[in-house]
């Protein structure tokens, strides 16, 4: 059995699933719009949480938050279910497919067999859509892939019940109600304000202040931790910023694309100007990744190099601070 679901590739999995499921249900909404209205742009540094033996950095809010906020702001109702085991989880999914409901799933990446081996880490906040089933396989639309793919029943059970941080517990979700008249302008204004609030939050590890804090730490790393560990941590920042899913520059380019769409909806030319500015900031993040790459590739780093990187990051933070202050006033 299969549903008449259409696959569109996206940069980020959660945006992509949300956008694809809503499109299927008759609401034409782009990935940047999903990301922007879901207030997806973020920065947080969690030194006390270790991922792959390095501190956690994130350029996005908690898994599920983007779709959750999007739904709330647009008045869409989304049904979310978690399950105690593969049996009940599989049955609920099969029932949905029988009723022609393509369903979003939260899964772990480590056992996703169609992913390149090198990309398979224990990361549990990946999202995909199941849109059909054959005798042996589930038909999968993974938004970061160019085309649709399949997983065997056993393989899908394994990724739905992956363990570790953010264990998906079989989580399945799908929209059940989409209002007829949606006030996009109101939702966009609200979302932009929330993003400005997050990025300018008076919390040392969040938003602009978080970026500045990381810059300060980078100066200390080579002395405090040794070059090897310092480089490992640096690589972690770059991976979180550029890994499949961010659309480049730690989501800054997707956000700039959102601002362009928002400028049209709100008839606000200032947002278009700010979009160009955000693109420039994204390019600064890219430059940072290039410089960081040079440092850990050579491995013969002097403390100077780390100071240079820290300066670069501080400059980005300052640019973003000005940017979000302007953006707050623009809406």
């Amino acid at each position: 059995m299969t549903t008449d679901f259409k696959h569109h590739q996206s940069a980020h999995c959660e945006n992509g699933v949300a956008s694809n499921l809503l499109k299927h249900n008759g609401l034409n909404i782009s990935e940047p719009m999903v990301f922007g209205i879901g207030s997806g742009l973020f920065f947080v540094y969690l030194p006390f949480i270790k991922v792959n033996h390095a501190p956690a950095f994130s350029y996005r809010p908690l898994p599920g938050a983007i779709f959750g906020r999007l739904a709330k702001r647009l008045g869409i109702k989304v049904k979310r279910q978690k399950f105690s085991g593969p049996k009940s989880a599989g049955k609920a999914l099969d029932d949905n497919l029988k009723n022609n409901i393509p369903s979003g799933l939260q899964v772990g990446v480590y056992n996703l067999t169609y992913f390149p081996e090198d990309y398979r880490f224990h990361f549990n906040a990946h999202n995909l859509v199941v849109y059909g089933k054959t005798e042996t396989d589930y038909l999968i639309s993974d938004p970061v892939m160019e085309t649709t793919t399949t997983l065997t029943i056993e393989e899908l059970d394994r990724v739905r019940f992956a363990k570790g941080a953010f264990a998906p517990k079989g989580q399945m979700y799908y929209p059940i109600h989409i209002p007829k008249d949606i006030d996009f302008a109101k939702a966009i204004t609200k979302a932009i304000k929330a993003t400005c609030r997050d990025m300018l939050a008076p919390v040392p590890i969040v938003g602009v202040r978080g970026i500045k804090y990381v810059a300060k730490q980078i100066r200390k790393w080579p002395v405090k931790l040794g070059v090897r560990k310092a480089n490992h941590y640096l690589a972690q920042i770059v991976r979180m910023q550029e890994e499949i899913g961010t659309g480049g520059g730690g989501f800054r380019f997707i956000y700039a694309a959102f601002l362009q769409e928002a400028a049209v909806v709100l008839k606000n030319d200032q947002l278009k100007e700010l979009s160009f500015e955000m693109t420039a900031i994204g390019d600064m993040w890219r430059d940072f990744a290039v410089e960081a790459g040079r440092v850990y590739k050579k491995r013969s780093a002097k403390p100077d190099v780390y100071n240079l990187l820290a300066d670069q990051l501080t400059a980005i933070a300052e640019k973003e601070e000005q940017f979000f202050k302007k953006l707050r006033k623009a809406v």
Partner: protein
């Protein structure tokens, strides 16, 4: 990032003919999407992480050979896990798993417990028990 600058470097996804979607601007600064086969700084960062796992796995293998660590440590590193993730998969407390890191304690484990580990590591119980490094 300009559309013309979307990187098409060699990467770990290229072998699978996989390309990822990027957001980039046209000559007027308007956004569009483009596919990228990879970007070198990113590949370097990923390889750095993979290299680190390789080193940790090799270290664990030597420890198994020298009789200071059990196969649990080796297969944990090989599966890119840490003790928290492994605890989730086998459904045991972390302190209990830490005890199983000792070869002496490992030698006395029941088949039932060994099976839990083998399932988590996706190997057979014999492969697991008889791993000598």
């Amino acid at each position: 990032m300009k559309e013309s600058e979307v990187p098409q470097d060699k990467s770990n996804i290229e072998s699978l003919n996989m390309r990822e979607l990027c957001y980039a601007t046209d000559e007027k600064g308007n956004y569009t999407t483009a596919l990228s086969s990879g970007w070198e700084p990113k590949t370097i960062a990923l390889n750095n992480a993979l290299e680190d796992i390789k080193e940790r796995t090799e270290e664990a293998r030597q420890q198994v050979i020298n009789g200071v660590a059990s196969p649990v440590v080796y297969f944990m590193e090989l599966s890119k896990m840490d003790i928290g993730i492994l605890a989730g998969y086998v459904g045991m407390w972390q302190w209990r798993i830490k005890r199983h890191f000792k070869p002496k304690v490992f030698a006395g484990l029941s088949d039932k417990v060994l099976q839990k580990y083998a399932t988590a590591f996706l190997i057979t119980i014999d492969e697991f028990k008889n791993f000598k490094g």
